[in-house]
Amino acid sequence: MLNTTIRRHAPFWLSIAAGIAIWEIAGRSTSQAFMVPFSTTIVQLWELVQSGVFIRQFLDSAELFMTGFVLALAVGMPLGMLLARVRVLRIGVEPYIMILYATPMVALIPFILSMMGFGFAPKVLVVFLFAVFPVIYNTVEGARSIKPELIEVAQSFRSTEWALWRDVMVPYTLPYAMTGVRQAIGRALVGMIAAEFFLSSTGLGQLIMTASQNFDTAGVFASVLVIALIGVALMRAGLAIERHFARWRQ
């Protein structure tokens, strides 16, 4: 039992250890301006955490992320279901949504900056724009795959439109929409950092920017490491959510 656990997990931990070793050696054998060893990065990170800077910036970023992301869900899901329900609307709007989905949203950041300035709202708008289209797209796809029989039966029992949405549309579509939610999590994270870089500098983005402007390589490495870990954690969470809901798929 223990043996199989070790055998299964050994390559993972070995490769993590190897990665850290390579990082450490590479950091020690090059100039400190280019790369710092793992140990220095961890020390730097610990200092950031202890001084309270890190927690404050993290909470700042989390607030931005959650606001934009929740807004994207609150707009994207109802809109996606509405589009799936009203055929004319879907046909009319779909190509434009596809175009916006394929447009690199970062290109809009300079416009948002010069129209809305440096507040919290423009940054939320950036996160929202990054996240909303995968939600709409996947919700439409999910809602379109509802079996027509389900809606027909509901209608033969004279369901009201409201009851139809509550009992058929929403429960059926939700698992599919979660694919969009997973994609949106990743894109919202990119939007968050981009907003913090190119609009007013706050949060984890500011942490990196300040470190990079002060040529504080250890600071850059520490914040990049943290953001990479956050990215992995969020992606895992997204996959877990998707899998949890996938059990309801038919």
Partner: protein, 270 residues
């Protein structure tokens, strides 16, 4: 009741002759387009300062911008960088992905690094890359490659993992060498995955190029947009956004077409 039936039946109907459906799709699209453009025009006219881009000024700017040598140079520079970065990412990503998908040991030891880099928002590597490669086009290429390569690796690895077992058994029965199996059997069979990965990668590469130009202030379409919008020439800058959107859509259409043309047997799951 009728309307609900047609909603769900639409994908089936679209596979049949398209001629009777044409008026059904054209008018809603046209009307929504007109409403969007007019709505944008009038909202900006009433509420926003005059420099903000609106359809009429953007339209007027198009003939001026597309003959502007600065704009053409910027477009060429960005496109060349994206093409170069994508080509590098495609070659190395495919080879790496094939090994990752076929070797269990490799997958167990390197797989989570690939996952981790894929999950990392690519914007954060910019300060690091600018430290390593300077404020130069080299950093832009590196960012594009970083943005693009992991989605190709992951998709190709997925494809290599799902090669039908019989293919491998037959090639083993004929004593095919390891490399010729990998590139002669596994690679062609994971082609649809490769294309799906390429589609993702192309979008990410465009984003990578634009943010790199924002960050580094080096010449290109992203910098053209940044520069013009800073000097309150929003209409000119917006032409750049339109061009970027057109590239994004073109990539999508290209991959869609290639999948249909070269892999007619392959159907996407949805």
């Amino acid at each position: 009741m009728n309307s609900s039936v047609t909603v769900a039946a639409a994908p089936v109907a679209s596979a049949k002759p398209a001629a009777p459906r044409l008026p059904g799709t054209f008018w809603p699209r046209f009307i929504v387009g007109v409403v969007l453009v007019l709505g944008w025009e009038f909202i900006v006219r009433w509420l926003a300062p005059p420099y903000v881009a609106k359809p009429s000024t953007v339209l007027m700017a198009i003939p001026r911008v597309i003959v502007d040598p600065a704009f053409l140079a910027a477009t060429g520079s960005t496109l060349a960088a994206v093409a170069e970065g994508l080509a590098i990412a495609l070659v190395f990503g495919t080879v790496f992905g094939l090994f990752l998908g076929r070797s269990r040991l490799f997958e167990r030891s390197v797989g989570h690094y690939v996952n981790g880099f894929f999950a990392m928002p690519m914007v954060v590597v910019l300060p690091l890359f600018s430290l390593w490669f300077g404020y130069s086009p080299a950093t832009r290429i590196a960012t594009i490659i970083f943005a693009a390569i992991f989605s190709i690796v992951m998709n190709v690895a997925d494809g290599a993992r799902s090669v039908p077992r019989e293919y491998l058994e037959v090639s083993r029965a004929y004593r095919a060498g390891k490399m010729s199996v990998l590139f002669g059997v596994v690679l062609p069979s994971s082609m649809p995955y490769l294309l799906a990965g390429f589609r993702l990668a192309a979008g990410r590469a465009l984003i990578g190029a634009v943010i790199a130009e924002f960050f580094l202030s080096i010449g290109g379409l992203g910098y053209y947009i940044l520069y013009n919008s800073r000097s309150y020439k929003h209409a000119e800058a917006f032409v750049g956004v339109l061009l970027l959107a057109a590239f994004g859509v073109c990539f999508e259409l290209l991959v869609f077409w290639a999948t249909k043309r070269f892999m007619p047997w392959y159907r996407r799951e949805r």
